[in-house]
Symmetry: C2
Subunit: 348 residues, 2 copies
Amino acid sequence: MSTKVKAYGTSSTENPLEEITIERRTVQAHDVEFEILYCGICHSDLHQIKGDFGAFPPPIVPGHEMVGRVTAVGNHVTKFKIGDLAAVGCIVDSCGHCEYCEDGIEQFCDEGVTFSFNSEDKISGGHTFGGFSKTYVCNEKYVLKMPAFEDLASAAPLLCAGITVYSPLKHWGAGPSKKVGVLGIGGLGHLAIKIAKAMGAEVVVFTTSPNKVEDAKRLGADEAVLSSDAEAMAKYSRQLHFIIDTVSAKHDVNVYLNLLRHDGTVVLVGLPPEPLEIGAFNVIMGRRSFAGSNIGGIAETQEMLDFCFEHNITAESEIIPIDYVNTAFERLEKGDVKYRFVIDMASL
Amino acid sequence: MSTKVKAYGTSSTENPLEEITIERRTVQAHDVEFEILYCGICHSDLHQIKGDFGAFPPPIVPGHEMVGRVTAVGNHVTKFKIGDLAAVGCIVDSCGHCEYCEDGIEQFCDEGVTFSFNSEDKISGGHTFGGFSKTYVCNEKYVLKMPAFEDLASAAPLLCAGITVYSPLKHWGAGPSKKVGVLGIGGLGHLAIKIAKAMGAEVVVFTTSPNKVEDAKRLGADEAVLSSDAEAMAKYSRQLHFIIDTVSAKHDVNVYLNLLRHDGTVVLVGLPPEPLEIGAFNVIMGRRSFAGSNIGGIAETQEMLDFCFEHNITAESEIIPIDYVNTAFERLEKGDVKYRFVIDMASL
């Protein structure tokens, strides 16, 4: 049993997004259905519609930073009732019994996690459609309780951008007496600054854009360094405990490895399409690491939402109507957004 | 005050090593002098005499895996008396007061560690001369108490190769219920197999050489895999907790990152001259790390010697006279040694 739902999608990597109709399963015993109020736009939406992660059968409906209000619940649902705020991020299903799921890192599920769009849908068949649509239906296990953020629209990007930076900051111990570097100020980087500061760390931002230096400080960074300024960079040699690298283009991570103290880590959360080169001495000296991190598990995503609500952290966002979405993707590709687009889904 | 000492060295990267005379300082209050009985040959000796790490003023006397017997001690020496076995590895001096030295990782000393050869000698002036010589003089802080190994010659390589693998195996928790990969079987790799087994880990060896598969098992590996065998490699996907990578040539570490479980680490201890390429997804998926490690501190080197003595671990070595050393370097360059040359210094 399924319901027709209005959405925004594309049938080809060549075409712009347009209004289409998709089908969502009707609510099962453990399902929650919610009306999507706001949906953030993430760089990986752009990658997917362009086919950067490989071909995918049409239609593609992107969107994985959804905030909404519950419109229906299955018989066995205990976490939600109609009218509650709810949110869904990247993960909408996983096996639930592998060691990864048991450890709360469902994103690495042994049987393959189901993402909120462009994933094989193991429950309904076909593939999943994302949040550029009127409603979403999901097992309550993967639905987050959305705190009542004053600016609910700007909280939507927390569902992917927020957890993507919160998880490694937490895992690698950002907090008081730690010096944390943030590399790149975009959707991810600007939230990393806010979250790392709220965790109590000293935050140093590295950017290639002179016009972002002041912005980094406005966002809460203790210091902001233009990465082309060799003298300023040298000042941080062997100074940082941890650097979160949000850059999605090819770049020289060796420069940043050398800013780490011993046992420090540069953790990549961006997705550069080309491999990054690492010189042996840059990890061997100081027992440094180059690591990666990918979103976070469901329990940790809930923890992040509660943390951000408590610390009044949301994304800096530009709220747009759905018919602006193709222009928004063009601007996103050029880096022309401060710092996240969020679609007001009432416009659909 | 100094003493003339017979040594084997070279005045140019073009020339073979030959007998020369160097000067060593006479024993100071905290110094230990010992007659060098055995000295191992390490790949980094070869790098240094070839100038791979940059030009260095002549003469170069390599050798940093020294085992000997104490012949003189300064007035304030408490750790040694004449006749004791003693050993010196890579580190012969450091500032002693930076956080690295205080943390027992003198190899990363903020003011720059003094290596046993080809380092600025901050005590005597000039530069340090290594273990291809009759005697060595060193502050007792950097002299190790050498356990009475039955095969003392074959214990010499522990001073560099041994600590280079022991330190990361310990740091990353190799032990019971851990599956540890060893990449490459040479001077470092063959000791990594023995030490990881003695720590209680399950050891899987990866090699490009069909003729080393059996040898890996003889050395104690639970399994040995030919890295060109895609089917055998696939069996280890997401299986290993930790991989120690001893390869000193350019190679594809992505293959090995994908053999790691979540939160696993590939740690490089080899010194490939070219950068290694890492694809973003290979670290992002599973929160994996690519790290490096460089020898170990003095206290940890002592701990390693005691551990190896207790577990009867020495290198598989080919004992040679000093006048064979140029041929040994040629063979080392071709990988023609199983697995470490050790010079019987009585031949000098």
